[in-house]
């Protein structure tokens, strides 16, 4: 199986097959799960954009929620003012967010560590509330982002959540496929080289600044796509949909996934979507008290975060790989 994945065609085929599997699944599961599946797809795209930035290019971003907002607003405005077809709205989200990312990335490439974290944090705090200043952005109550009813040839039983799920998982599979490719390309190697040792990379003729800016821009484009997906699942865009906590949630998801390993991204996304459900089940069984229900999800995620950082700092996937490598070298000796 993994041999097939070495070739471009093989990877494309694999992701197509995966898509078909998801398509079959979407017909068998109930509507709440379909909706959660759409949310899951959104988180996968958002977290993988953060993993690309932090794990592969070595830049920290605490402001990815704000970049998602840029994409979401771009998609909604394109839909409202020009009535663009859905796929063009999503493309607009990617392009506008990538452009914003390029501008930001130029500044970000000069910063590192806590300074970069601080700058992006300010972005997460400030940017969404800009919408309150301009009437065209709809203020606090936001804009509607109506992608319309699913095409009629899909049948009358085809709910809009199923439609969202299809769009979301297609976007997610295309993103992952594309990321797999780009990370294996020259750009991916350049990013990793700069992350590993900037001076050494520069000695090899890599322009560190350009490389970082490009990574920031690509990552922002994907975050924009995630933002548009988020807007799709809630049918609206408003500043309060992109709070500071969203940026932190994404970072949590990335750490749980293993910040340097793209394959783990699904673990992070599943954790984020499943935790409130698990917390709900626990609190119903245990105490059925409101304060437990409302506070347990936060507690669970925080506890998980601490455990991951303590015991598997590189993420569960990377850790498993390390174990295997160790085990193998032991048997060889």
């Amino acid at each position: 199986m993994h041999k097939i994945l070495h070739t471009n065609l093989g990877r494309a085929l694999f992701f197509t097959a995966l898509g078909f599997g998801l398509f079959l699944a979407s017909n068998r599961i109930d509507e709440l799960r379909v909706y959660q599946g759409a949310t899951l797809a959104m988180f996968v795209v958002a977290i993988s954009s953060l993993i690309l930035l932090t794990g592969y290019s070595g830049q920290v971003s605490l402001g990815h929620g704000a970049i998602m907002a840029i994409g979401a607003y771009a998609a909604a405005l394109a839909r409202i003012h020009w009535g663009l077809p859905v796929w063009l709205c999503f493309s607009a989200a990617v392009v506008v967010a990538a452009f914003a990312g390029a501008v930001l990335g130029t500044a970000a490439a000069r910063l590192s560590g806590p300074y970069l974290a601080g700058t992006t944090l300010a972005l997460a705090v400030g940017l969404p509330s800009i919408a309150n200043q301009f009437h065209v952005l709809g203020g606090e109550q936001g804009l509607l982002f109506d992608i319309g009813q699913p095409p009629s040839w899909l049948g009358a039983d085809f709910t809009s959540y199923k439609w969202y799920f299809w769009i979301g998982s297609s976007a997610c599979l295309i993103t992952l496929w594309w990321l797999q490719n780009i990370l294996r390309s020259r750009y991916g190697r350049t990013w990793r080289a700069v992350r590993g040792n900037e001076v050494a990379a520069q000695l090899c003729g890599i322009h560190a600044g350009k490389s970082k800016t490009l990574a920031f821009s690509v990552s922002s484009g994907l975050a924009g796509l995630a933002g548009a997906l988020l807007a799709m699942t809630i049918s609206t865009v408003s500043p309060s949909a992109f709070p500071l906590s969203l940026s932190f949630t994404l970072l949590t998801g990335a750490v749980l996934s293993g910040i340097t390993t793209l394959p783990g991204v699904i673990i992070g996304a599943v954790t984020l979507v499943a935790t409130p459900e698990i917390a709900d089940a626990i609190s119903q069984r245990m105490a059925n008290s409101e304060s437990v229900t409302t506070n347990l999800p936060g507690l669970l995620v925080s506890a998980l975060l601490i455990l991951v950082v303590l015991f598997v700092p590189n993420g569960p996937v990377e850790q498993m790989r390390m174990f295997r490598v160790k085990a193998r070298s032991h048997t060889k000796n």
């Binding site: 068998r28 049918s235 906590s245 996937v317």
Partner: protein, 436 residues
């Protein structure tokens, strides 16, 4: 070798994700209900609410679900509605629309509630109505906690019912009051520069009031150091003698605190959203006593008015079923919504369906017994709840006392209708506060 392993894990995790989603679906399908109406059985009615229980917007509002539950428990202890006991599933959306949609979906698709009740916030309610497709599913959204006038549009939100008077109504009634009481004085206005404020400005325009000094503020900026001092300086420079504050509680806090510091003492008129003494007190930024002398607007009886039969009943219910929670305007708001909900369930009859409930509110809603001091505006063409305000003055403890010792209520609409002094006489409370 390393690469191959990574890829293998990637494949594995993808397969696990697909598998887990498919597996997770099985129990949900296995327990699909086969009842006549979702959320209703011969002995129970299940309602759901999603409000900010934690987070920045939660103080005050997080008391609403508990208050509703307390009143439902009281009704249940007295036999329920047509023999059915009411339960309320409470979810926390932290005032984030994304979460509000997720929680509404859980309530409707997983908990299978009969109706949503009292969901809070304009953006959240808009997101819920459009993403969850309440209209298409026919799920009633009862007595939403927002004053955005758009929800009264029955063609857009056919299953949504409001309870709060709209911001526009409030501004129109304020205009009338200003013209009658402060003619010739210099007027100032602090307002939130978004749709909340836009609704208000439209109301003031219709009311024919022009402000000499207008201070718009961006939502969220009221907490930024120095911002509110700027508002006050602007008002002082413009010589405003009467200032309307049409904003949220944190803006009220910032304005009153800075005005005190800068020795500026105009006559304040606090809008119903920002005049929430409980929220101001819990923020612990300024003493509530700064509200003394300000004018306030409300449509429900004052929480301190123990002479009011509803307030007395609500207080008793709160003591018994909501132990240890201080009685305030949020409790009154929650119990008022719960009371009207019980009325509606009662009016829908023994053969309860979502449609019969909405029909009952449309046809009989305007005659419901209700704690509100204004008439309810429900009809086949309107989903508007309370339609006006009474005006009072805050005392040093932050409680609003009606001017002249009795509630004088003004009513109006969200359009061009006039502001009229209401002759509405609230019907006496049903025996023991139990609708019959």
């Amino acid at each position: 070798m390393i690469r191959m392993n990574r890829r293998k894990l990637f494949v594995a995790s993808a397969v696990i994700a697909v598998g887990s989603m498919a597996v997770a679906a099985v129990p949900a399908q296995a327990f699909a209900p086969h009842r006549a109406e979702i959320g209703v059985s011969a002995s129970s009615i299940k309602l759901g609410i999603s409000v900010p229980m934690t987070g920045i917007a939660s103080p005050g509002y997080n008391k609403i679900p508990g208050a509703m539950k307390a009143y439902f428990d009281y009704v249940n202890a007295n036999g329920g509605v047509n023999g059915r006991k009411i339960s309320l599933v409470i979810k926390d959306d932290q005032y984030i629309p994304t979460l509000a949609v997720a929680k509404a979906n859980e309530l409707i698709l997983k908990d299978k509630v009969f109706a949503l009740l009292g969901t809070l916030g304009t953006a959240s309610n808009k997101a819920i109505a459009s993403s969850v497709q309440l209209a298409k599913r026919g799920v009633p959204a009862l007595f939403v906690n927002t004053g955005f006038s758009g929800f009264a549009d029955k063609s857009k939100y056919p299953t949504t019912f409001s309870i709060l008077p709209s911001y526009q109504m409030e501004a129109k009634i304020m205009s009338q009051y200003i013209k009658e009481n402060y003619a010739g004085k210099k007027l100032g206005l602090i307002y939130q520069d978004d749709d909340f404020g836009v609704d208000a400005l439209a109301g003031f325009k219709q009311g024919g009031v022009n402000f000499d000094v207008k201070v718009p503020y961006a939502s969220g900026s009221q907490g930024v150091a120095g911002t509110a001092a700027g508002w006050i300086q602007k008002l002082q420079a413009g010589g405003a003698e009467v200032v309307v504050l049409f904003g949220v509680s944190s803006a009220t806090t910032a304005a009153l605190g800075n005005a005190y510091a800068l020795k500026y003492a105009p006559q304040w008129l606090l809008g119903s959203v920002g005049g929430d003494a409980t929220t101001i007190a819990s923020a612990k930024v300024v003493p509530v006593a700064l509200m003394r002398g300000s004018k306030g607007f409300s449509f429900a009886p004052a929480p301190t008015d123990t002479a009011d039969e509803y307030i007395k009943m609500f207080q008793d219910v709160n003591t018994t079923y909501n132990k240890g929670v201080a009685f305030d305007n949020n409790i009154v708001a929650g119990m008022t919504s719960a009371f009207i909900t019980v009325q509606a369930l009662q009016a829908a009859g023994a053969n309860l369906t979502r449609k019969s409930l909405m029909d009952a509110i449309e046809t009989k809603g305007s005659t419901f017994a209700s704690p509100t001091l204004t008439p309810l505006g429900y009809s086949t063409t309107s989903h508007v709840g309370a339609t006006g305000y009474w005006i009072g003055t805050y005392d040093a403890t932050g409680s609003l006392k009606p001017d002249g010792g009795a509630y004088t209520v003004y009513t109006t609409d969200s359009g061009s209708g006039a502001v009229v002094k209401s002759t509405y006489k609230r019907a006496p409370m049903p025996a023991k506060g139990l609708p019959n």
